[in-house]
Structures are given as structure tokens and as C-alpha cells.
């Protein structure tokens, strides 16, 4: 019940394409869902986050889609760029952060 399942494990996208990463959770007590971006040797950096009272949030090229009934949320990166190549973690917050297993994104130039 405390798990957050993330897929895919790795993703290769052409420059300009759309990157889509999915997460699913079980615990309905979670009430905050952030996405973190991590470059090698660096700490995770907050990218975008959503609460379950909205179905979508967009910030620049990054969009979170949230499906409360399905207990799923996803990150869409529009017009993906080589600089977006990083590992992306979804997370869910109840009384603590539960992180997904991560998706290694590579955007080809």
C-alpha cells in the first residue's frame, strides 16, 4: 500500500518528441504528487507537483496528468530536448515521501 510503481524503467526519445512517464499508487491517503528530476551526481530537484483535486497541471513543457479514480498520474515532457536527459522520479506524499523506482530518460539529438 505504500508503494509507488513507476514505468518505464528507461525511455529513449528523439529530440522534439513527447516523453511520457507513468506512476501508479494504492494508498488513497496520499495527497501530494511531485515529480523530481535528477542528473548524475546531483540531488533530486523538484520539477512539478500536483494535488488530487486537479486533473492536470502544466508548467512550460512539463505537464502532470492525474487520474484519481485510477490512482495513476503521469509526466509528459513536450518537445523533449537533450538537456532533459536525466532520471525522473515520481513520488507520493502522505506523512512521508514515497518515491517511485525512477525512469532514465535519454533524449537523442
Amino acid at each position: 500500500q505504500q508503494q509507488v510503481k513507476q514505468s518505464p524503467q528507461s525511455l529513449i526519445v528523439q529530440k522534439g518528441g513527447i516523453s511520457i512517464i507513468n506512476c501508479a499508487y494504492e494508498n488513497t491517503a496520499f495527497d501530494y504528487f511531485p515529480w523530481y528530476q535528477q542528473f548524475p551526481g546531483k540531488g533530486p530537484a523538484l520539477l512539478i507537483a500536483i494535488r488530487p483535486d486537479v486533473s492536470e497541471k502544466k508548467e512550460g513543457r512539463f505537464t502532470i496528468s492525474f487520474n484519481k479514480s485510477a490512482k495513476q498520474f503521469s509526466l509528459h515532457i513536450m518537445d523533449s530536448q537533450p538537456g532533459d536527459s536525466a532520471t525522473y522520479f515520481c513520488a507520493a506524499m502522505g506523512y512521508k515521501y514515497i518515491f517511485g523506482t525512477g525512469t532514465r530518460l535519454k533524449v537523442l539529438a
Binding site: 551526481g41 523538484l46 512521508k96
Partner: protein, 116 residues
């Protein structure tokens, strides 16, 4: 832009030794956290700290671990007797009082702990 800093960046220690990992959270933040990330795996919550006491801890945070805010700026994680399986990247994070309600946490660059 203010950031969370951590020292050392890499710590090598022998099994059974004590290590102290240090963090300087963002100056006006009052909530502090430690996480660990075993190589290639997900980030795992260890402990949260507020008002000079532990507010939450995970099952990983056993009696070998302790946290302290020894002064107004540092936040430390002590591992009393390191084991091989403690080898990981340890991240410190902090959040502002008001933002704690939105759970926005800012992470440091991490300390890589290698236990030999």
C-alpha cells in the same frame, strides 16, 4: 539562489566505524529530512526532523542512526557502526514552514558513503 549543501561529497569508512554526514539546510527552513539512495535504486525516506525532534522515521532508521541539529545551521546524520549495506548516497532535504504544507522539499547534492 539558496541551496542545501552537504559535506563531505564522498566518505569512505571501514565497517564498524562511526560516520557523521553533515548538511546545511536553506537558512529559513525549519523542516529537515534525510534520504538514502542505494546505487541504481529509488530514493528512500529515512527521517524527518522539526522543532529539534524526530517527527517521522522509516523502518530503515534503526538504533544505529541518529540525527541532530547541533547549532542553528547544521543538521547531521550519524551512523554509529557502519555496515556494508549502508553504502549509498545520502541526501539531506529541507522545506520552509509554510511550504511544509505543500511538501516542497529541496534536496542537497548528496554524500556518497562507501563502507569497506
Amino acid at each position: 539562489e539558496p541551496e542545501v549543501t552537504q559535506t563531505p561529497s564522498h566518505q569512505v569508512t571501514q565497517m564498524g566505524q562511526e560516520v557523521i554526514l553533515r548538511c546545511v539546510p536553506i537558512s529559513n527552513h525549519l523542516y529537515f529530512y534525510w534520504y538514502r539512495q542505494i546505487l541504481g535504486q529509488k530514493v528512500e525516506f529515512l527521517v524527518s526532523f522539526y522543532n529539534n525532534e524526530i517527527s517521522e522515521k522509516s523502518e530503515i532508521f534503526d538504533d544505529q542512526f541518529s540525527v541532530e541539529r547541533p547549532d542553528g545551521s547544521n543538521f547531521t546524520l550519524k551512523i554509529r557502526s557502519t555496515k556494508l549495506e549502508d553504502s549509498a548516497m545520502y541526501f539531506c532535504a529541507s522545506s520552509e514552514p509554510q511550504l511544509a504544507l505543500t511538501y516542497e522539499q529541496y534536496f542537497g547534492p548528496g554524500t556518497r558513503l562507501t563502507v569497506t
